[in-house]
């Protein structure tokens, strides 16, 4: 499963000027209370915690303070071939910047080596405008870019991959769904029935082990009408998401209510599952496409009052 989000963040006065300078192919540091120049700049002094405002240009060359070597780069890192990570003290600065060094081979990396910025082809005002550093050679440096508009926001896409493992109980539930059955589990201590099964009774804290097959119909205990569009939405709003208490269960589960107007959905409404065509079934909750009104009379409030 991959999750991702483009984090967009506003910049304070110091980082705004730093990012704007990057867009112009210049690097700014800031002078701290003790006279040291920090690059990248700090917003607050590391000694006195006072806000820092005096920015000075540093680099574009610098000296490696410490380094390591990565044979197999990971997703998102500055280079997709073996490279060195280094803390680099830029000329004119007293503290160091973390970045990648495109040295080609580990043999070229050493503490004290001289490196220079390699700029991204089209700077936008982001730390990644520094594509990486490279060993200092005699080739001419990149000239500074044109004056840039002030940069006040940065956007950083973040993507992570996870492999979720099902518990034994969840596995039985999903295998049941693949056969068109809804499997819950009963707590051996208090007798309550949970669907989907959860591994432990949230009331008693003991593992649940006894399977219970439940019908695919139940009662709407509460609901909301979704009016807000969002990326990845499968159904055009407005539509209803409800808690459905299956008959015989002690905990409602969340599902879609379709097959009627949103303003017809009410607490106590009786609903039945609408399954996808059998040939589309898998070990997934999506086998039940949605719930729709069953036409039975509404359930009395007392029948679900304990399950709200």
């Amino acid at each position: 499963m991959e999750i991702g989000f483009d984090y967009t963040r506003s910049l304070g006065p110091v980082l705004s000027r730093f990012m704007t300078a990057l867009a112009e192919r210049r690097i700014l540091g800031c002078r701290g209370s003790d006279g040291r120049v920090h690059a990248p700049p700090l917003e607050y002094d590391p000694v006195t915690y006072a806000p820092l405002t005096e920015l000075v240009e540093v680099g574009p060359a610098g000296t490696v303070v410490t380094w390591t070597w990565l044979d197999r780069p990971l997703d998102g890192q500055p280079l997709d071939r073996p490279f060195g990570w280094a803390l680099i003290r830029l000329d004119g600065a007293d503290t160091a910047m973390l970045h990648a060094v495109d040295a080609g081979s580990k043999d070229r990396m050493r503490t004290g080596m001289r490196v220079r910025v390699r700029w991204a082809p089209e700077p936008v005002g982001h730390i990644r405008d520094i594509a990486c550093f490279e060993p200092l050679t005699d080739s001419p440096p990149t000239l500074p870019g044109p004056t840039a508009e002030p940069v006040t926001m940065v956007t950083t896409p973040i993507h992570l991959r996870y492999r979720h493992t099902t518990s034994t109980e969840e596995s039985r539930y999903l295998r049941g769904l693949a056969e068109g059955k809804v499997i819950g589990q009963r707590c051996p201590s208090c007798g309550k029935v949970y669907v989907p099964p959860r591994g432990a009774c949230p009331t008693c804290g003991v593992p649940t082990v006894d399977d219970v097959e439940l019908p695919d119909r139940g009662t709407v205990t509460t609901f909301c009408v979704v009016n807000v569009p969002f990326p990845g939405q499968r159904i055009p709003p407005p539509y209803v998401v409800a808690y459905v208490l299956l008959d015989g269960a002690d905990i409602p589960f969340q599902h879609l209510i379709l097959g009627c107007r949103p303003d017809e959905v009410r607490m106590g409404m009786r609903v039945a599952a609408v399954w996808r065509p059998r040939e589309q079934w898998g070990t997934t909750p999506q086998n039940i496409d949605h719930f729709q009104p069953s036409g039975e009379p509404d359930a009395p409030f007392n029948s679900y009052a304990q399950h709200l």
């Binding site: 999750i3 500055p78 973390l98 492999r163 432990a200």
Partner: protein, 351 residues
């Protein structure tokens, strides 16, 4: 002043892959074990506090599922920190000091193996200048390791000796994920994974959970013949700007130790949370440990580092040495953030 003691500890085995990201099935037996050992029932716990991470689990509010393992009905007083549970223990400790609770159960859990841990940990860095580069946690530790080598604080052989001693100690720890009788020379023959770090210099990626029970004053005396009384507990943090720090020193650990009254030369044993071998050497210097203290008798986190419970387990394991009568004065240490940025020290004594 209220006295507070650790009166119980339990942990799951550290495994390369175990359980789900909800933590429920890993926590249920840990709770059962720690409650049985203290003679308490869940109704006797005044305050519950946990440490875990949504980034590790890959979903929002992931700690809410874990509350199922408590059996939280009737409702319980519960809190959570998005940190190693050693910091949850600190919150519970303060709660007991205020007198608002007499007992607390603190737990940590995490399934490090669900994602790519060294990438996930890049997201604990500042989101403007560091995280967008995705510097992985092992590479950052390697930058620190080399800085220490260059500064002459230790050698690669010293690092290998730490690993060899840890792996040998872990042979008698059934919860350990890694153990072995390799010598430092054997280990030095292995290739680098992130020069100057070799595989044995890095904690393994593993899943697990742990729980500690705290009790105040007479409650602790009633429940445990020899409680591990907390005599000092403090934490401190260094700058998030990696390049500003002198990575060869750990000022926040030194400050926490001073605030907790550690007196490193006066300890029988100490459990350090050092996920990389060179970090144990840096911490020993920062905490002023003498020759007397037995360091990481459990094998330490180089032999099992389940994220978000490993720091709590350092305190639990140290407390166990006191509760069992094998030590009189011990300390547990926990770390968080890149390259030992944040450090916590808990000093415990027998009565």
């Amino acid at each position: 002043m209220t006295e507070v003691a650790v009166i119980g500890f339990a942990q799951s085995p550290c495994l390369p892959s175990a359980g789900t990201t909800s933590g429920v099935e890993t926590l249920v037996p840990v709770f059962q074990e720690v409650l049985a050992a203290t003679g308490l029932a869940k109704q006797d716990i005044d305050f519950w506090c946990s440490g875990s991470s949504d980034y590790l689990a890959g979903r929002a509010f992931s700690f809410v599922n874990a509350v199922d393992a408590i059996g939280a009905y009737p409702p319980v007083a519960e809190s959570h920190v998005e940190m190693d549970a050693a910091w949850a223990l600190y919150e519970a400790y303060v709660k007991l000091l205020t007198g608002e609770a007499r007992t607390a159960l603190v737990y940590g859990f995490g399934k490090s193996s669900a994602g790519q841990l060294r990438r996930v940990l890049a997201l604990q860095l500042d989101p403007y200048l560091h995280a967008p580069l995705w510097p992985d946690s092992v590479s950052i530790a390697a930058l620190q390791a080399r800085a220490g080598l260059d500064a002459g604080r230790y050698t690669e052989r010293d690092m290998a000796r730490v690993a060899a001693r840890s792996r040998t100690a872990a042979l008698s720890n059934p919860k350990a994920q890694v153990s072995g009788s390799d010598t430092a020379d054997d280990l030095l023959a292995a290739p680098y994974v992130a020069d100057p770090l070799r595989a044995h210099d890095c904690a393994p990626v593993g899943d697990g959970a742990a729980a500690v029970v705290l009790a105040a004053g007479d409650e602790a005396r009633r429940l445990r013949a020899r409680p591990a009384w907390i005599t000092g507990f403090a934490h401190n943090v260094d700058s998030p700007a990696l390049g500003v720090r002198d990575l060869t020193t750990v000022p926040s650990a030194t400050a926490a130790a001073a605030a907790a009254g550690l007196r490193g030369g006066d300890l029988d044993a100490v459990e350090l949370h050092a996920p990389f071998s060179h970090q144990e050497l840096l911490l020993a210097a920062a905490l002023g440990l003498g020759d007397r203290a037995s360091v990481n008798p459990s094998g330490g986190v180089l032999c099992g580092n389940p994220m978000f419970s490993a720091g709590l387990s350092r305190i639990g394991l140290a407390a166990k040495l006191v509760m069992s009568g094998r030590a009189d004065r011990v300390a547990g240490h926990a770390t968080s953030g890149p390259a030992l940025q944040q450090n916590l020290v808990c000093v415990m004594e027998g009565s």
